[in-house]
Amino acid sequence: MTALALTKAPSRRANASLLERGWKVPKVVTAIASPLMVLALWWATAASGVFPSQILVSPERVVSALVETWQLGELSTALGATFYRLAVGFGAGTLLGLAYGVAAALFRPIEDYTLPFFTVIRTVPTIAFVPVLILFFGIGETFKILIVAKATFFPIALAAVEGVRGIPQRYKDVAQAWRLPLPDTLRKVIIPAALPDVVTGVRLGLGRSWGALVAAELIASEVGLGQMMELGRQMFRMDVVFVGVAITGLVGFGLDRVLRSAETRLSRWKAG
């Protein structure tokens, strides 16, 4: 998406709401008022019995489904399997993406021979690789880990290429003047200087791979968060589906938060 990021970030000063109305309410109230209202509305609608429970379950039922799946160990098993796939695929995708990105930015032949092809592959929706990978590897772990790795690799590789290319020439000149060997140049100059860009790519990659993993688990899985939701759907267990969707959202939000704070810290460090 780098090429699409054409707009500047909104300036801080202009961030206040438009058409100021001049009444101030504490931020906590504005943040939780509407979710509480929705919760109340949800609870009331479910209690009224207008919709059958396959369509709308009460909030209590969702909470009890959460407790139940947790106590039965279903939820922890599902989360364990999902996080394992995410960790392995994301780890592999990150390392490979970083290594490839740095190599392609530093060595012209690597860029010339591989970057055009990779730029094309990057635009193919990750999920479209699912049927091919299933035919190759079956519906086991391999195909899901590869999907996560694919979703991770490209944003990180391209961010690393951009990051290394953006390093001021004088940094490289200094490294050369000190006759630093390549490993030291990488460790002490190239990687730290490219890090802020790379972290942005890592954040993008993590978001994409989380979505791709959940989708892959919905399509074919014996265990996992996506499989739990799919099974809940097939058995018309709306409560279980709600628990799954809520956890999917919370995990996505949490992962993004962690990397966003790393990103802010690093870009501040780069600017300072």
Binding site: M1, A3, L4, L6, T7, P10, S11, R13, A14, N15, S17, L18, L19, T30, A31, I32, A33, S34, P35, M37, I55, D112, Y113, T114, P116, F117, V120, T123, V124, P125, I127, A128, F129, P131, V132, I134, L135, F136, G207, G211, A212, V214, A215, L218, I219, G226, M229, E230, R233, F236, M238, V241, F242, G244, V245, T248, G249, L250, G252, D256
Partner: protein, 252 residues
Amino acid sequence: MTASIKSLAKAWALPLVLILAWHIASLQGKSAAYAFVPLSDIWASAVDLLNGGELAMHLFASVSTALIGLAAGTLAGIALGTAMALSRTVDWLIGPIYHALRQVPTMGLIPIIALWFGTGEFSIKLLVAIAAFEVMALNTCEGLRGVENRYRELGHVLTLNKVETFTRILFPAAFPQILTGLLQATSFAWIATVGAELLFTVGPGLGVIMERAQLAMRMDQVIVCLIFIGAMGYATNRLCVAIGKHALRWRK
């Protein structure tokens, strides 16, 4: 000229090597040819699907699904984004819920959509619309909020009313970001179309015939579908980048 031919040759080297490797793998006995289907089979199945007009029909169906979802999602997204940026009340009421829902990956909503709206073609379009909607609402809202105060002050000096302020000042100033959002939404709409078609496997569509081919273990057809889905993704991406560069060239 020679330089560009050279770089073109370099760009094609890796895909050609991979195709050659695939070909060699397909020659290693029956079990290998099961996964690495011979190139001739892939070619035959491409010709077959193209000649019957079948592929064109499914491609057209997928593209129209993507466009319908994109249009609906874009309109709804611009409407909500504008409302959240201009009205504090809307921002209070809907903002937190919108941001909470946005955290769920689009594909993760499929089980709920399937329970509420069934597994028909409407659900596919709805999912595509949601994917476009989320990006558009965010970019519209941030674009409008980011309009510099001096532009707004200018509107004040010229005693523009609310509608004029919006059409003459706020919207044009926020346009670059709204366009950026639209270009992103276009990519997302295609991804969501393919994903939803694979998952729901209903109606005509490239993702649908791809999933059916996978269930029938027809690697040749799966590869043909993948190539067309990839080509569409690539073309969309290039088109969006070009439109973005062209439309926003004045900002340089």
